[in-house]
Amino acid sequence: MNYEKSVPKKANREGLLKRALHHENFTMLFVLVIIIFMVIAVEFIFTRQMRFEDVAFIKGMNISNVLMQVAVTGILAIGMTLVMLMGGIDLSIGQMMSFIGVGMAYLLKTAGWSEWSVVIAGVAAAVFCQLVMGFIISRTKLEPFIVSLGFMTIYQGFVYLITNGREITLMGKFTFLGKTYIQVTDTFRLYATVLLFILLVVIVWLVMKYTKFGRRVYAVGGNENAAYLSGVNVKNFKLLIYALNGIFVALAAMAQMSRLGTGNPLMGSGKEIDVIAAVVVGGTALSGGKGNIWGTVIGVILLGIISNALNILGVSPHYQYIMKGVLIIVAVLIGYYSGMKTKAVKKAAH
């Protein structure tokens, strides 16, 4: 049967709602909203006089902080989304962020470089590191998982070589990204990092939607072989994506360093897990070819909110790990079952 012509004739508003319900990000967005309401409700019950103003979670100051924390992970997650969409993975980003961060701190403080030259050096170093790794991954059939695991360890070594395990304080330099903000209301601030994150998301979203490059990311992740036969230079394309990922890592390192005011050797450790979790929770398939940038935004915010809410509720950090892990698995399970449902619907329609 040819339904093609009959579909657009249906009432527009109904179609819009239906399309929203069937959008691949809908389930996770729904979960996010529910969690926000749950957090508010629980805190409301636990506040002393059940006064709405006492709910710390929705205070302007807290929202500002959550957004700030989310932004750094988010910038990393944008790069990781690109890498995972084209079927790769990069475990090295956490240690690489530490490496780039302490490297820049070292150049600023010990070598006395100017801020702008440090920024350029940081981005260049990050892109170079990712090019080396991307070259190995794209030119061989080695698993990106293993290759990036190796690089992760290398960067860790560099971090300790540079810092000897001690942090490098910036002495009030390099404050732009992490410390400047727009005061929106009395308590709510929008930090520069948050704005940068939003800007990057919008840019990547537009690029994915309106350029050949964006469409090719999905093609390479969906079927590398078919992409190559359709005229995509798969090897160089992979290299390019890893190089782009380097830029995002460098930006995240700058933001984090600027916020902390020091080059901390531990500033990126474990970040790769948070980032991959956020991207996967956001609906991007580990096998590549499926997912989108808004899903990642939802995933990052979801994970950020959870740890913040648990902190406010005074849950011990030890329990937090367990609850976060459970949440990741639950989120992925929800995604899996809702994915199965849409499949069944489409099969029935066919």
């Binding site: 093609e4 309106y210 469409r215 999905y218 992409a227 190559y228 359709s230």
Partner: protein, 495 residues
């Protein structure tokens, strides 16, 4: 009973949705004989093997082994009854050694401790019996093709097989390896093991067979004792599918030379040369494994060529990657559309536009343009779908193939390479694809079509090139095209 039959198949029927493979098929096998099965591509040889090895169950008919009727054949039961199948591709553990491969799954053991010495002893015995120089400790993946096949035969032998089925065992073998394998097979037959041997190579058939059965379109044509058989009879029996009822296409006006390759060599292809003109369709015939797909991949830049030249409209061009090929207006509809043609999880639109991106360096691709392109070609190809945003994995085989065609039409190419364009497609969709091809030719494009479907080749081609063992062995002009000629050249019969 004059002969001791080990296997008897009677009245076998088997059909798949839309295709009837076997209708009342009979077959028997004597103890200790080498029985060759001959037939064209698609005659039903593989299905026969799969029924015997338990991979498929027949719809009707009976199989009896050693006088006992087998009701429900399963792979496990087949193995227990001593039916061992050796497929064309190696089916071994490449990282393990010979001993471990031979005894995997039925290791010799004392209690739970493996009896390695005994297994090694046994392996040596078998290898010596098969007159092989392989060491029990060799890692299988490092052995040559012929030696690996010997290991498989040895494994079947150790598992006490009574019936051994070999499907095209000598593909990609050197002459020496073939000689050795045929000797091994003869040795086994003398031991009383019955062998079903399937081969495209006439020479091998006449060297080892005791009896030969010819099948065509799922019917047994005849069974001969080898001394009563000559090459001519064999070929006449193999051909004879009804071509007259097949699609007839109007011939297009043939223009100037469009595309030429000379002396192309690469892995699996030796010194191939041919040319195609505007409005012309050349068919490439040959048995499975003769290097046809490899040749297409070579031309399209998917594989590296060792040597050779490509000329398009009289200009010499270099094609190193598929991107280069697309830039020179070439299109390649691959044999395996799911693995190398489509993005199954993506929508029709995404699939249809990707190749056209390679045409220009412009970085922007507006969704509205994509949808316009997709709509245009979906309409032209008559793809039946609820929406252009349908993911292609939910489409039927014929519609999927049309999406692949849409992808290439969107590049506005001139030189089309079709590799098995109608495999796994129902009759109606087939005819539509032939119509699309005919239209292409009428528009002055040229087509290179690889096909194992003999009627399709004969009906569609202006000329036919025949490949065998990686070489172009002959060119058949339109007035000499007939099934018998093609088949004789494909399997290496003399004129």
């Amino acid at each position: 009973m004059p002969h001791d039959l080990i296997l008897e198949m009677q009245g076998i029927n088997k059909s798949f949705p839309g295709v009837e493979v076997f209708n009342n098929f009979n077959f028997d096998l004597r103890r200790g004989e080498i029985h060759c099965i001959c037939g064209e591509n698609g005659a039903g040889k593989s299905t026969l093997i799969k029924i015997l090895s338990g991979a498929y169950t027949q719809d009707k008919g009976s199989i009896s082994i050693d006088g006992k009727t087998i009701e429900n054949m399963t792979p496990r039961l087949a193995m227990k009854l001593g039916v061992q199948t050796i497929y064309q591709e190696h089916n071994l553990y490449p990282l393990l050694n010979v001993v471990e491969n031979l005894f995997s799954g039925n290791e010799l053991a004392n209690g739970i401790i493996l009896n390695k010495l005994k297994m090694i002893e046994k392996t040596k015995e078998v290898l010596a019996f098969l007159n092989s120089t392989i060491s029990p400790y060799d890692i299988v993946g490092q052995l040559g093709s012929g030696e690996q096949k010997t290991v498989e035969v040895a494994r079947a032998f150790i598992n006490k097989s009574k019936i051994m089925i070999l499907d095209e065992p000598t593909a990609s073998f050197s002459k020496k390896e073939i000689d050795h394998l045929l000797d091994v097979i003869k040795t086994l037959a003398k031991e009383g093991i019955s062998i079903i041997y399937i081969s495209h190579h006439l020479e091998e058939v006449f060297r080892i067979a005791d009896r030969v059965t010819v099948i065509r379109d799922g019917k047994k044509i005849n069974t001969y004792d080898i001394q009563d058989l000559n090459e001519q009879t064999l070929i006449t029996d193999m051909v004879g599918r009804d071509v007259s009822a097949f699609y007839h296409r109007g011939k297009a006006k043939i223009g100037d030379e469009m595309f030429r390759i000379s002396n192309m060599s690469g892995i699996g292809v030796r010194n191939a040369s041919f040319y195609v003109r505007e409005g012309e369709l050349i068919g490439i015939a040959g048995m499975v494994g003769s290097g046809r797909t490899e040749l297409a991949e070579l031309i399209f830049g998917y594989r590296k060529s060792f040597s050779g030249e490509i000329w398009i409209r009289g200009n010499k061009v270099r094609i190193n990657t598929p991107f280069d090929a697309i830039s020179h207006k070439m299109c390649f509809i691959t044999e395996d559309r799911q693995n190398s043609g489509l993005f199954l999880d993506h929508t029709i639109v995404r699939n249809a536009v990707l190749a056209s991106y390679a045409k220009s360096r412009k970085p922007i691709a507006l969704p509205a343009d994509d949808i316009r392109i997709a709509r245009k070609y979906i309409k032209q190809m008559n793809i039946i779908t609820p929406s252009i945003f349908q993911r292609v994995k939910f489409l039927s085989g014929g519609n999927q193939q049309k999406v692949v065609l849409a992808k290439w039409f969107a590049t506005n190419g001139d030189i089309f390479i079709f590799d098995e364009p109608t495999r796994g497609i129902d009759v109606g969709a087939k005819e539509e694809i032939y119509k699309i091809m005919t239209q292409l030719l009428a528009d002055g494009k040229c087509i290179i079509m690889i096909s194992s479907d003999m009627p399709e080749l004969i009906a569609m081609s202006d000329r036919i090139m025949v490949m065998r063992d990686g070489s172009m062995v002959a060119e058949i002009n339109e007035n000499e095209v007939n099934e018998q000629n093609i088949l004789r050249l494909s399997i290496g019969g003399s004129n």
